[in-house]
């Protein structure tokens, strides 16, 4: 049995029982990365020496009776999360050599438990995108089919988990960036409630929606990780003081009588949902019904405005957040420029990719004084509407079930010239980001080509425990498939 196929919590067990050593475990992963990542390209930076060092330290702790859940566990981290002394590139030329002098809070938390960081994973440039193909360093492939995309923006993280090149990954979600690649790569991705996990050290795109979460083999593992990374951080004024409970505590509890909302707009052919995807998710709904849950029809009338709302809010915030990238304090600095203005224009133009540029232009458009009321201010109002419509659903239901994506993974050569045509593909995920709700995506089926299909369970604010419980209930009887790697 290849230990890298095990769940994270099973590894914890073996480590603490001393059946395997932390060093062996890390070495196993480093070997696999060496063997397979040339093809998959999930990592931008592999921190081999550091990982072995951490593994040694972890083993010392284990020898002295470790109680930390993540001690010695090999984890990958999306390369938009700052790691002290280790390049953090956001997959962009503009930050290709940026070395942060500080750790993101989540990294500190992992360090304090002696988790082992294997490296930094690939993403769409600045986490803007849904294919990971806009990265300047690598084009990550879907481990299930190397001619297909892993999704994005956390494609590297999802692929690394899917191909067992790490036990789990810390990634980020803004409009589905964590759940969508998890779904396309056949693994589980948990995006917590906005504010649940500190954003300190996460390179910001949409400040009002960005969240750090976990991608792992299953819901239980995701919750395991959330236990460590959740919590109020005084460095992040938007982080929540909501009590951090054990998010695995409801796992195994019966879901009899649990009310699962099925919002009809998410399944309507109008939004372009693929029939295999739709059927797979509805089949999962039936399974839940057989387990004793109650399916409740409901609606989210504003869903058709979700992508527009998301694009407006996220592009505006991103445009503002990325203004600091000018090559003066850090990052790519052009050699051309007679004055400050020319210099930063050149640095930014040379450093940013096309999609990032488009998003910045869009952001500045919706914020410009003539357009502000019609676009940004209206989107702020629409956000409030989404919050209300979701609250209405949660009056009657405990969780909401939707497809994670409209289709399975696309080919890597699709949509290259007009990537923005795929904006509308995010429709299933964006509204939970807009409304700050927690959501977990887990595999519910495979299409006729064997490509994974994901379903999302959305929960009430701060109710990660219930969505984990519900996802786990399905996973227990679902035979998830691992990709065959050659």
């Amino acid at each position: 049995m290849n230990i890298t196929n095990l769940k994270l919590r099973e590894m914890r067990d073996l480590l603490d029982k001393k059946s395997i050593s932390a060093i062996e475990l890390t070495q196993e992963y480093l070997n696999r990365i060496n063997k397979f990542d040339d093809k998959i390209q999930s990592y931008i930076t592999v921190t081999e020496d550091l990982a072995m060092d951490s593994a040694k330290k972890a083993q010392e702790k284990i020898d002295n009776g470790n109680t930390n859940p993540l001690c010695g566990i090999p984890i990958s981290i999306k390369d938009n999360i700052c790691t002290n002394g280790i390049k953090t590139t956001c997959a962009s030329k503009s930050l290709e050599n940026f070395i942060p002098p500080y750790n993101a809070t989540v990294v500190d938390k992992l360090d304090s438990q002696n988790a082992v960081m294997l490296g930094k994973t690939n993403l769409d440039e600045f986490a803007i995108g849904a294919t990971t193909q806009s990265s300047v360093f690598a084009k990550t492939k879907n481990p299930f089919d190397l001619s297909k995309v892993p999704g994005g923006s956390s494609g590297g993280s999802a692929a690394s988990v899917s191909a067992s090149l790490c036990a789990a990954s810390i990634a980020s979600d803004t409009g589905g960036s964590l759940r969508q690649p998890a779904a396309l790569c056949g693994v589980t991705g948990l995006k917590p409630t906005y504010g649940r996990v500190s954003r300190h050290g996460l390179v910001a795109i949409a400040s009002s929606m960005d969240q750090i979460g976990a991608i792992a083999k299953d819901a239980h593992d995701c919750a395991f990780i959330l236990n460590t990374i959740a919590g109020f951080d005084c460095n992040d004024a938007t982080s929540s003081k909501a009590e951090v409970i054990d998010f695995t505590s409801k796992i195994g509890e019966s879901i009899k009588g649990l009310k699962i909302a099925i919002p009809k707009e998410f399944y309507d052919s109008n939004i372009g949902i693929n029939s295999e995807v739709k059927n797979s998710v509805l089949a999962a709904a039936e399974k839940y019904k057989k387990m004793g849950a109650e399916l409740v029809e409901c609606c989210l009338p504003s869903l058709k405005y979700a992508v527009a709302t998301y694009l407006i809010l996220s592009s505006a915030e991103a445009a503002s957040n990325l203004s600091r990238i000018d090559g003066i304090k850090y990052g790519h600095r052009s050699t051309r420029g007679e004055n400050f203005n020319e210099l930063i224009i050149n640095s930014r133009t040379e450093g940013f990719g096309d999609e990032v540029k488009r998003r910045i232009l869009l952001g500045n458009f919706v914020l410009s004084i003539e357009q502000y009321d019609d676009y940004y201010k209206k989107a702020l109002a629409l956000r409030q509407r989404f919050i209300t419509e979701y609250a209405d659903i949660f009056e009657k239901c405990d969780v909401i079930l939707t497809p994670t994506t409209l289709s399975t993974a696309a080919r890597t050569d699709e949509n290259i010239s007009t990537p923005f045509k795929t904006y509308l593909d995010n429709i299933c995920t964006v509204s939970s980001d807009i409304a700050s709700l927690p959501a977990i995506s887990t595999t519910c089926g495979y299409d006729s080509n064997g490509m994974p299909i994901g379903m999302s369970i959305i929960g009430k604010k701060f109710d990660e425990a219930t969505i984990v419980q519900v996802a786990d209930a399905f996973e227990k009887s679902f035979n998830a498939v691992s990709p065959e790697l050659i």
């Binding site: 942060p100 910001a204 009002s208 938007t238 503002s320 203004s323 600091r324 003066i328 304090k329 940004y376």
Partner: protein
């Protein structure tokens, strides 16, 4: 042609917090370049602002001191623009929901009182500093100042002359000093002023075209810049030329304003509420607690000094004009309840020492109690008025108590009556002829006899006692 100058001011004041507005770096003035920075205030990716409670409190205090309404729900917005001293390429400021709105500051010019209305006071962050290196054709960026909390005080265009503008800035400075929120040291850039000025004819119904003047580093330059600008605009209008709406820079050496190179077209700052900074809420209790922390403000003190203590307006003004002096005055009066006497001693003697640079009000080597003691000693003739001045100088130099100094230097007037009696008798005996003259009605020789006695009795007793004893003896 006679025009009415219409002037509005924007004053930026650095707040005296310990740490910066959005991070815990020290907010102290100065320091080696880039030694008071962190990933946050140097705008590294992934960092977030964490609002400083005291910065908010101080802004509210400033608002209360200037009669503003305080918004109990307040929002911070991003003002987006690119400049080398602004590392995030946006400045956090406040647009729609500033902490303080409306308000007014009364000023006195030419004996008349006028209320200058305020539009708002909001909280924002300062930018870094640029150091220009002409030789190497570069500018150096120091971010120490970046993130220092600022309040921006915006007036309505109620000001109509350079005098009024200066009076306003002085009064604002005084009020801020009293609240303790700003040092107001213009030479350190703690208080900066931009002027917006236009001219109109008395019969005009609309304001003229506004010109903004920046880079005013002292009260004097504010006055000079306004006067120059009034002349410049008047001349142009007289010639039928149109005033261009622009920003001009004041050149201190030449006393002129000059058009700043057109940075670009008018900025579109693309303001939006900062999603990283939750809105700030205040209850009525919170507001009252902050108000209660305010000391008695200068106008109230002035009233009290004139009406209750009977000080002249001039003296009262001198004392009120620096909080340290006023505080010291009040403390002294507490210890020795003779307000007029204390006022005189401060305004004449203490301030003389201060003006000579021997001592500063924020660093007095003696307490108000000791100071009170000295004045009381002088008033009750325990020491002569002249000697009291000397004692003060020695208190400044040595920090010793007035009693100790008086004893050590023999300034104490003992009022030994019997000794006085003895010596006066001797003087009278030595000057028997003059005594005869006095007894024969030549009262003016009393002065001579007083002089002789005073010489011999210096430090032994007070002039009053000498006079009385002498008179008694001459009877």
């Amino acid at each position: 042609m006679s025009y009415i100058p219409v002037i509005g001011l924007e004053i930026h004041a650095e707040l005296l917090t310990q740490s910066k507005i959005f991070c815990s770096c020290s907010a102290e003035f100065g320091g080696e370049q880039n030694s008071r920075c962190c990933p946050g205030c140097s705008s590294m990716p992934g960092t977030l602002p964490v609002l400083n409670k005291t910065a908010v409190k101080y802004a509210i205090k400033a608002g209360l001191a200037m009669n503003c309404e305080i918004n109990k729900f307040s929002v911070f917005d991003r003002k987006n623009y690119f400049y080398p001293d602004l590392p995030k390429a946006y400045q956090v400021s406040q647009l729609e929901f500033p902490l303080c709105i409306n308000g007014y500051v009364p000023i006195h010019v030419d004996g008349k009182e006028k209320k200058i209305r305020l539009n708002r006071i909001h909280l924002e962050e300062d930018a870094g500093k640029l150091i220009h290196d002409d030789f190497n054709a570069v500018s150096l960026v120091d971010l120490n100042r970046g993130g220092i909390p600022l309040i921006e005080i915006v007036t309505e265009p109620d000001i109509n002359s350079a005098e009024e503008a200066k009076a306003f800035v002085e009064q604002v400075s005084l009020l801020l000093q009293y609240t303790g929120v700003c040092s107001c040291k213009m030479e350190q850039g703690a208080l900066r002023c931009d002027v917006n000025i236009s001219l109109m004819k008395p019969e005009d119904t609309e304001f003229g075209t506004r010109v903004e003047i920046k880079n005013l580093n002292s009260l004097k330059s504010i006055g000079r810049a306004i006067e120059y600008e009034i002349k410049r605009q008047s001349r142009m209008l007289d010639n039928g030329e149109r005033i261009i709406q622009e920003t001009r820079r004041f050149n201190d050496n030449r006393g002129e304003t000059k058009s700043m190179r057109n940075k670009e077209d008018a900025h579109d700052y693309r303001y939006f509420p900062d999603p990283d900074i939750p809105q700030v809420n205040l209850t009525d209790e919170d507001l009252e607690a902050i108000r209660a922390e305010l000391p008695e403000m200068p106008d109230k003190r002035l009233e009290r000094y004139i009406n209750e203590y009977g000080l002249s307006e001039t003296d009262a003004q001198i004392i009120v004009n620096q909080k340290l002096i006023s505080d010291f005055y009040d403390e002294t009066v507490k210890n020795y309840n003779n307000p007029i006497s204390v006022s005189n001693f401060i305004t004449v003697e203490l301030l003389r020492r201060v003006n000579l640079g021997e001592v500063s009000m924020d660093n007095l080597p003696f307490s108000a109690k000791e100071f009170a003691s000295l004045i009381e000693m002088a008033d009750t003739d325990k020491v002569s008025k002249n000697d009291a001045k000397k004692i003060l100088r020695l208190m400044v130099e040595t920090g010793k108590s007035p009693e100790d100094i008086a004893k050590e230097n023999g300034f104490l007037i003992v009022n030994d009556i019997s000794k006085a009696d003895e010596i006066i008798s001797t003087v009278l005996a030595e000057n028997a002829a003059v005594v005869e003259q006095y007894k024969n009605g030549e009262t003016k020789v009393f002065g001579f006899l007083m002089g002789q006695c005073t010489k011999k009795l210096k430090g032994v007793c007070t002039p009053q006692v000498i006079k009385e004893t002498l008179e008694a003896k001459l009877k």
